[in-house]
């Protein structure tokens, strides 16, 4: 029920408050999503979507981190 999936914002339209909308691309499937909870979103950003609403912007720097941590553990021969 609490699943939310990442998608890429390709177009932003609509007005605040609570009716700011975006077209979001989920691997080829385009949906209209309410982005009022993330008004700072820009075209090209990735966001996390649940029941038609974007809950959060995906931080691309942080997304890399977990794999970088892997690599450093690897170098130390820990894994």
């Amino acid at each position: 029920m609490c699943l939310a999936v990442p998608g890429k914002i390709i177009d932003i339209y609509g007005q605040e408050p609570m009716e700011k909308m975006a077209k979001v691309d989920f691997g080829g499937i385009i949906k209209e999503i309410n982005i009022s909870f993330i008004p700072e979103a820009k075209t090209g950003d990735y966001c996390i979507v649940h029941t038609g609403f974007a809950l959060s912007l995906l931080d691309e720097e942080e997304a890399k981190k977990v794999f970088e941590e892997f690599d450093s553990l690897n170098k130390d021969n820990l894994i």
Binding site: M1, C2, A4, M18, S36, F37, H50, T51, L55, L58
Partner: protein, 368 residues
């Protein structure tokens, strides 16, 4: 798909499992709170690839499972009233109340519709001014802001033929309930990533300090879950009861302030019954007085009276499962009297319930 596939990568999963196995010295019981995580853990066989020193138990984080049977009875009753279009997330339709589920109400002629977003229900309301649209607003903190947005828009656009049945649950009171039960055996928690996306980390920091228990916030994909388990074990082995955020690509410390604000503009905390568990103080969300015109229970004059748990009649142990005290395979009805087609208790009703996930994916060894 970007930001999905890499978190399912088999080499990464293997490496992480190895890391967990190297780090684990003692026996630990770790509870994932969220049903979405339970589903992913069982589906991906996570427990099978890590050391059996770690026991994973499954928390109460599935709103479909814990919505009380009495609320479903009320939903069925309202759905059957003439002139009502009843809107619900799909997962709720097959969940039995004490007598019926919404699907059988539909078979009896009720206009029950599955929606993807609460805004769909609002649209149906605008398109059908001569009907009453009732939305079954279930969810944890993840979904509550979206549900609140539907009431906010109905209010601001003066849509009068729209109302909701509020069945919202808050996670931190449930964790405290488990920790204070006196019989708790859980050593560490994996907190639900998307609940924290909205709420932030503050409540969990308090829990971890007050109860001296590590809490690791994480996501839903195998790499996320294993990273969460690894960090939780590391904190447990080093005796560091604190909060760590293993889902920092999505969760910020402060959560989503706008979403939280809207949620508490529309709702206030209230006591709530959790199916299989019972009453937990301040663990729910009810519409504020200002928005009571959107309260379907008031509009249709249905009074809900909670009784002793009717699921208990079947010797269903879902309450113990959701507190981490038992596993689904320990239930005498599992897979025999109780199946997803004929669920006897809450953890079998939704695909995110622990019993249902075990039934679908787990190879159970019936000899032990």
């Amino acid at each position: 798909m970007k930001y999905l596939d890499e978190y399912r990568s088999a080499p990464a999963v293997k490496k992480l499992a190895g890391l967990i196995n190297q780090t684990t010295k003692s026996e630990w019981k770790i509870m994932e709170i969220c049903g979405g995580q339970t589903h992913s853990i069982v589906k991906n066989g996570i427990e099978e690839i890590i050391t059996d020193k770690i026991k994973l138990v499954h928390g109460p984080g599935c709103p479909v499972c814990v919505t009380p049977a009495e609320k479903i009875d009320a939903a069925v009753e309202i759905a059957l009233r003439p002139g009502v279009i009843f809107c619900s997330y799909g997962d709720m339709l097959r969940v039995p109340g004490r007598k019926k589920d919404l699907l059988s109400a539909k078979a009896l002629g009720a206009d029950v519709r599955i929606i993807y977003s609460p805004l769909d229900a609002l649209k149906i309301a605008e398109e059908n001014p001569d009907k009453e649209i009732v939305f079954f607003a279930i969810g944890f903190e993840t979904t509550a802001p979206a549900n609140a947005a539907s009431v906010f828009q109905a209010h601001s656009k003066n849509i009068k033929n729209f109302s909701i049945i509020s069945s919202h649950f808050l996670v931190p009171p449930a964790i405290k309930f488990i920790l204070e039960s006196g019989i708790n055996t859980v050593n560490g928690f994996l907190a639900a990533g998307h609940v924290c996306t909205i709420m932030g980390t503050e409540d969990y920091e308090k829990i971890s300090v007050n109860y001296k228990v590590p809490v690791v916030i994480t996501g839903f994909e195998p790499v996320d879950i294993l990273t969460g388990i690894y960090n939780c074990v590391r904190l447990l082995e080093n005796n560091q009861p604190k909060v760590e955020n293993s889902y920092s690509r999505v969760v910020r410390q402060e959560g989503n302030i706008r979403a939280k604000k809207l949620m508490f503009y529309i709702f206030e905390t209230s006591d709530m019954y959790w199916r299989g568990i019972g009453l937990i103080k301040n663990s729910g969300l009810a519409l504020k007085e200002k928005f009571s015109a959107f309260d379907a229970e008031k509009k249709f004059n249905v009074e809900i009276r909670y009784e002793t748990n009717s699921d208990a009649l079947h010797k269903c142990i879902s309450g113990l499962i959701m507190q981490g005290l038992k596993k689904p395979s320990e239930c005498e009805h599992f897979g025999t009297l109780c199946t997803p087609e004929h669920p006897l208790g809450p953890t079998m009703v939704s695909s995110e319930g622990a019993c249902s996930a075990y039934f679908k994916y787990k190879k159970i060894n019936f000899n032990n």
